[in-house]
């Protein structure tokens, strides 16, 4: 997934020019333009929704990077995460509305995130173990179809448990609470979401680049056989990848619940679609790219809404996807695909 990180070492300058700087400049420029078009308040909205997409997109990109599978079920893992978080907040923690006392809030949030991410990670690993691993050497189509099946199953299980209609989740961070930053009043929740997302991403980035497991992931992504020869436990590595990706999706689910205070079993489909677009946009297999892509999608969507073309927002997102695939299939940060198949 971070192939360019590896290859960056020898000719650093070249890589620096070729891959590193351009996209970021583009990103900054894009953000600037968007900011000028839609103004600060909408910009905050975009960043918030973008953070959620980014978190989900990372899961896609990691899984694709390591086993080249579009994990269609990932969007639904995110959805299940939202429901899991709701369960944790309501049933064991007995929350209903905003929590005002900061320490208590912190504790509750920590428990909520920890439990949800853990459960979702496990779920993701289980899915990989039972639905994908048996098909690792099957034709490409097989796991894709299984993934779709798994996504159906997750959706319907949730629907059976919680019914088809939308469910309220406790917004323990008071959605009305606002702080004034530089003359602009921003919702506390928005700030919280953005910060959480960025923290998680940085954490992940460090994990992947510093730890042993992270290195194992990168080498597996590069060349599974070679990694195996080097003594990397492929199954364990892939399982770990799924765990992390799904955990992040779970975190995104928590955030979703906190932000909108209302969740539904159909949540996963749309979110998953946009998140995958984000992953492709950023260069599939590249974590930073996925993050950037997520925010980009957020910008596109909110800009459309702000300009009064809300109904076209979806279409705009996919237009972006197709254009990317035509003109830069490798995405913002991805490296050129080796095989031209």
């Amino acid at each position: 997934m971070t192939t360019n990180a590896l290859s960056a070492r020898p000719t650093f300058v070249a890589t620096f020019q070729r891959l590193r700087l351009g996209p970021y400049l583009f990103m900054v420029g894009f953000a600037l333009v968007v900011y000028l078009i839609i103004g600060p308040e909408q910009f905050v909205n975009a960043l918030t929704i973008g953070s959620i997409y980014a978190l989900v997109a990372i899961g896609y990109t990691m899984v694709y990077g390591i086993i080249e599978l579009i994990n269609f079920a990932h969007g639904d893992v995110f959805m299940v995460g939202a429901f899991c978080s709701m369960y944790v907040l309501t049933t064991p923690l007995g929350q209903t509305g905003p929590v005002t006392d900061p320490p208590a809030l912190a504790v509750i949030l920590f428990i909520d995130f920890a439990v949800t991410m853990l459960v979702m990670g496990t779920l993701g690993t289980a899915i990989e173990r039972f639905a994908y691993r048996p098909l690792r050497n099957a034709p490409r189509l097989a796991p894709l179809i299984t993934a779709i099946g798994v996504s159906f199953i997750l959706q319907n299980i949730i629907q059976i448990i919680y019914g088809p209609s939308p469910i309220n989740t406790p917004q323990i961070i008071d959605p009305a609470a606002r702080v004034v930053v530089g003359g602009l009043s921003i919702g506390v929740i928005n700030i919280f979401i953005f910060v959480t997302a960025v923290t998680l991403m940085i954490g992940l980035q460090m994990f992947v680049s510093r730890t042993r497991l992270g290195r194992a992931m990168r080498s597996t992504a590069q060349d599974r056989e070679a990694a195996q020869l080097m003594g990397v436990d492929i199954n364990r590595t892939i399982a770990a990848t799924f765990f992390i990706g799904s955990a992040l999706a779970g975190a995104a689910g928590v955030v979703q619940g906190l932000y909108f205070g209302n969740i539904q079993f159909t949540l996963g489909f749309q979110a998953g679609l946009k998140a995958f677009t984000a992953a492709v946009l950023g260069g599939i297999g590249n974590i930073t790219g996925a993050a950037l892509g997520g925010f980009l999608i957020g910008f596109v969507e909110v800009t459309a809404a702000a300009q009064g073309y809300f109904v076209w927002a979806q279409a705009a997102v996919f237009a972006v996807l197709i254009i990317t695939l035509v003109f830069r299939p490798s995405g913002l940060l991805g490296q050129q695909l080796g095989e031209r198949t």
């Binding site: 098909l135 179809i145 099946g149 695909l337 198949t341």
Partner: protein
């Protein structure tokens, strides 16, 4: 190629004359097989539904009407089978082409536009329109690896209804287009209700035709190229197969079949609304193809038919049954509602346990027995032992 296989199954293929005769024979046989098979179906279905328990559900006319709608899905499945089954490309936005076909006819023959084009040529036009959009979508994306296609088609399948919804000026948006003219032969206008036979027979004719054509494609060098791509795209390219054009052809031909089905749907319902073409149609058809046995034409057709019947009749009857007998839990479960759960479980189970589908194609079983299958295949019983 399966023609050759069938023919050379007996001989070791040293005598070209014999082989040639055999292949001609089996080739002619292939089309006849389909026609005979469909003819049997055409006559058998109406008779079967006169027997209990079917007769107790509803009258023959209603059954035939249901079969006609089921036929639309069979067509869709046959088309998607070209893309997914034969060429191994995952198309998740198939309903979009269905929609394009339907709206093509809606524009061609409805008070909304004021046009009054005849139905039969529009079948072709609808197919062409769908194919055109298939090319428009496929051309940029088919150069990339397969799974990108999956996501792009998924997006496309989302965009088309959105586009139809929001360009009210041309499509009357969510209202859809009503008052579409039903087909007519001479002065005989196909009746909307009462007598389902005209639509029923038309649908059977369409299916028969598409099956024959698809078989011919499958047996051609194009069909071989498709399968080669499905098996190993790189190796296929390294053997002179232009993967892009070949994949694009598969995509376009699949789309055109959907367009055909769309035109028929429009003329049957006499109303089209964007709501008819949401993504669950795409996924239902995909499930049909996978469960029917990817790449196996008869299998897919039968699979599609059975699945549609299950979802539109069996599950309903199940509900009613449990409502009547008041089984504690079961009577509360609404089976219709969990249709997609069943699909999901089926898809996963199918891929893990029986990837060749419910009605495995002869190819997949050939290693087990060659001779009798060759003979058996020629008989081509509609239960999906594909006449190869």
């Amino acid at each position: 190629m399966s023609a050759i296989a069938g023919s050379t199954a007996g001989s070791t293929g040293t005598d070209p004359g014999l082989r040639a005769r055999l292949r001609d024979f089996s080739n002619r046989h292939r089309s006849i097989t389909v026609i005979v098979g469909m003819a049997i179906t055409a006559i058998a279905l109406p008779l079967i539904v006169l027997l209990p328990p079917f007769s107790s559900f509803s009258g023959q006319n209603i059954w035939l009407d249901g079969f006609t709608i089921a036929g639309i899905y069979v067509l869709l499945a046959l088309g998607l089978n070209i893309v997914v089954g034969l060429s191994g490309l995952l198309d998740l936005g198939y309903a979009a082409f269905f929609a394009i076909g339907a709206y093509t006819y809606a524009f061609a023959a409805s008070p909304f536009t004021g046009n009054e084009f005849p139905f039969w040529p529009m079948l072709l036009v609808g197919a062409l329109m769908a194919a055109t959009f298939g090319i428009l979508l496929g051309a940029p994306t088919l150069r990339l690896r397969g799974d990108y296609l999956a996501i792009v088609t998924l997006g496309f399948g989302e965009i088309v209804p959105i586009a139809i919804l929001n360009s009210s000026k041309y499509t009357d948006g969510p209202n859809g287009i009503g008052g579409i003219t039903p087909p007519s032969i001479g002065d005989f206008l196909f009746p909307t209700t009462g007598n389902p036979w005209p639509f029923y027979l038309t649908m059977l004719a369409l299916i028969t035709l598409s099956m024959i054509l698809i078989y011919r494609l499958q047996d051609s060098r194009l069909g071989r190229a498709w399968m080669a791509i499905r098996e190993d795209e790189l190796a296929a390219a390294a053997n002179g197969v232009n993967t892009v054009t070949t994949k694009l052809l598969a995509f376009a031909l699949g789309a055109s079949t959907a367009g055909l089905a769309g035109v028929f749907l429009a003329s049957k319902l006499q109303t089209v609304t964007p709501n008819l073409f949401r993504f669950d149609v795409s996924f239902t058809v995909l499930a049909m193809v996978v469960l029917g046995g990817m790449g196996n034409i008869w299998g897919v057709a039968v699979g599609a038919f059975i699945i549609f019947m299950i979802q539109s009749v069996f599950l309903k009857q199940l509900n009613l049954f449990f409502d009547n007998v008041n089984v504690p839990i079961l009577s509360d479960i609404d089976f219709l509602q969990y249709q997609f759960l069943l699909y999901g479980v089926a898809l996963v189970a199918m891929m893990l346990l029986r990837p060749e589908g419910l009605f495995p194609s002869r190819r997949r079983r050939r290693e087990l027995h060659t001779e009798e299958d060759a003979a058996f295949g020629e008989l081509g019983d509609p239960m999906g032992a594909a006449p190869k």
